[in-house]
């Protein structure tokens, strides 16, 4: 192995300044206002009058280097070689030349990346790896997202919703995608307790750690077939898979029982109502690849119900808060079940503790 260069560590990311287009460098901290010109396009106007046009395009999050190079070709042609990505996996082309906006849009769309996701629309779905790369996934991520967004594309490329709608997907309860504060969250769930691999457990894992990992104390040390291992009190298991994260011999993945749950009404922004968690709407939908029709249909129903009934600017959770959860379940045609009622810590705080009811 050749060692020509001195090895550096801990130098951190490159400084961002070199990646800022001149119009941004010149107006850093001096922006006055912005306007959404049309779906996916906005203009920021600086105090001195300079203008910056942003064109936001969807992306599937998983990008080949071929696609990134195509983005680069467009950025070189129209944006003096600058571009950025958003926190929701969109790509944004930035230019100070208004005449470049429409030709750029055409080329990006021809490449297969619809323009949109700004203002009262659905932005790209934040999501996790799923079966492409994760060991604990209870569903795929990219495939579900693709199917859902193919169906909802009109709400990405147009601004016809009452307010913003943020959808996120996490393929298990670890929630690498942190979906727990989304207008609609798609969450992969396990529903079968871990199948303990007694042969391997003692060789791969520390039994006290496995035992301690369980938030409901459902796992206790046990000797099975003469081998030190653990046993699971199945009625205490809530399928969080924390034991599997600390010990590979506790797999929960199970094609017969894994599936998807749908959560609604969370938000992160402080605008109007305070940030809040998403709440359970649909406890279980089957994994049905490649296009997850049950999930796609359920989400379209929720989006359209909200779009039809919410007031201007009202996010999903604000709307439900106003009309009340009983009415939401009735309007959505979702049967309210035992699973909807919290039974973990502080569950009592989620019970209805008043007679403020609508009939």
């Amino acid at each position: 192995m050749a060692e020509p260069q001195e090895r550096r560590t801990d130098y951190g990311p490159p400084h961002y300044e070199q990646f800022l287009p001149p119009v941004i460098k010149n107006n850093y901290g001096k922006w006055k206002y912005h306007e959404i010109m049309k779906p996916g396009v906005m203009v920021h106007v600086a105090e001195g009058g300079d203008k910056l046009y942003t064109i936001r395009a969807s992306s599937g999050r998983l990008l080949s280097i071929d696609k990134i190079r195509m983005y680069c070709d467009l950025a070189d042609k129209y944006c003096d070689g600058y571009l950025r990505f958003t926190s929701r996996h969109n790509v944004e082309f930035l230019t100070d030349k208004k005449e470049n906006v429409d030709p750029l849009i055409k080329e990006v769309e021809d490449m297969g990346h619809p323009i949109g996701g700004i203002g009262n629309s659905i932005s790209s779905i934040v999501h996790t790896q799923g079966w492409i790369h994760c060991h604990s996934a209870a569903t795929d991520a990219s495939g579900v997202v693709k199917a859902v967004m193919d169906d909802l594309i009109e709400y990405f490329v147009e601004m016809k919703l009452p307010g913003k709608l943020r959808i996120a997907l996490a393929c298990c309860l670890n929630m690498c995608g942190a979906v727990h504060c989304s207008d609609i969250a798609i969450l992969g769930i396990h529903r079968r307790p871990p199948k303990v691999n007694h042969e391997k457990l003692n060789k791969m894992c520390e039994i006290p750690n496995v035992s301690a990992s369980c938030p409901t104390a459902a796992i206790r040390p046990a000797t099975v077939d003469g081998k030190p291992s653990v046993e699971v009190i199945e009625e205490l298991c809530m399928f969080c898979a924390n034991c599997y994260t600390v010990c590979p011999s506790m797999p929960l993945n199970d094609p017969l029982n894994d599936g998807i749950s749908i959560w609604v009404g969370g938000k992160v922004s402080n605008a109007r109502a305070e940030p809040t968690f998403s709440k359970l709407a649909i406890p279980y939908l089957p994994n049905n690849p490649p296009r997850w029709p049950e999930t796609v249909e359920a989400i379209r129903n929720l989006v359209e119900l909200w779009a039809k009934n919410a007031r201007k600017y009202e996010r999903m959770g604000e709307w439900i808060e106003r009309i009340g959860w009983p009415r939401f379940f009735k309007m959505a045609g979702i049967e309210f079940q035992k699973e909807h009622i919290d039974d973990f810590k502080h569950a009592g705080l989620t019970f209805k503790r008043s007679t403020h009811l609508s009939y």
Binding site: Y16, F19, R61, G81, W131, A137, I153, M175, A271, T276
Partner: protein, 405 residues
Amino acid sequence: MSDTLPKTPMLDELESGKWPSFVTEIKMAAKRSPMCRDLLGQLEQSYEEKIGYWKHGGIVGVMGYGGGVIGRYSDLPEKFPNISHFHTMRINQPAAWFYNTDALRKICNIWEKHGSGITNMHGSTGDIILLGTSTDQLEPVFDELQKIDFDIGGSGSDVRTPSCCCGMARCEWACYDTMAACYDFTQTFQDEIHRPAFPYKFKFKFSGCPNDCVASIARSDMSIIGIWRDDIQVNKDAVTEYAKSGMDIKADVIDNCPAKCMEWDGKEINIDNSYCRRCMHCINVMPKALAPGKDRGACILLGSKAPIVEGALLSSVLIPFYKMEPPYQELKDVVERIWDVWGEEGKNRERVGEFIQRVGMGNFLEAIELEPTAEMVAHPRENPYVFYEEYFEEEEEEEEEEEKS
């Protein structure tokens, strides 16, 4: 292994439709990469059988770093030998994900030579995700990254790669320089990012205003959210323009104010700023007319996380207002004190938010030497079970009296 793509009838169905297809992306890379061909094969099997085929992690990395590489191995290595190793490398993104094409092309070239050719732009935490390579390629990738000044990000029980919104680069609402702060914190805590030494992960996210475009209040242990203390800036002429252009200011703006601190008399907007909650709604709706005040800084919140292990948490207020001025030393001192206490007393896989739940916020504040303030709670306690730590004994009472006098 032939150069032809494996048959993937189920995945092929995900190439139709208007949303960009990840299957098409993998196929593009598969023209060059045997790894991507096997990835398609294994993924098709997952689609057929409704289960993933990845083994449970494994410790791999580059020399001198304790994190940043996620070990990944196929569960079907005989059938798909090219992805028997399929490790992920997390590369610390430039602040707010701005690039020039030169830097992006260089990353692409490295990944063409040493990896699968597929990426995530970006991962949930913010890193550039280089998806899939073998153990022997990790060092060569890092060698090349050094030449183009990109460093590895965090993973495991360390400081995860900090991220920020685009702040002052492209937003009139930025109440502090998010990109400068994110870069500064990232550089200051390089050791903590690269060498896991905590009970569990610790995330920083920097948002320029309460709209919180990087979801810091839900997704970071320390949420640094821009805010202002003085009055909302009002451009009266622009308000008039909005009214003339047909905006229903009462319905769209005034009636949506959560503090009910605004009035519209048909000509002017009047705001009682002392009651304003800085929610941003009115400013969002009238960006030409209203703007955050001039006395700007950040609200520092602590403790958010996803459900594992003890349930999801949102961050809660720790420092109601902090002037975000470099080198942010007072804030970094608070961070160090938090890490000292949590590092010492935290349990394995216990995030700082869960730690606070366990030991009590009052005790935690004492330990990190911050005074409690009313801004920290939605409301004071409802239960009377107060943990008083001291009480008087009769004879001591007299001594106390003497001391006081």
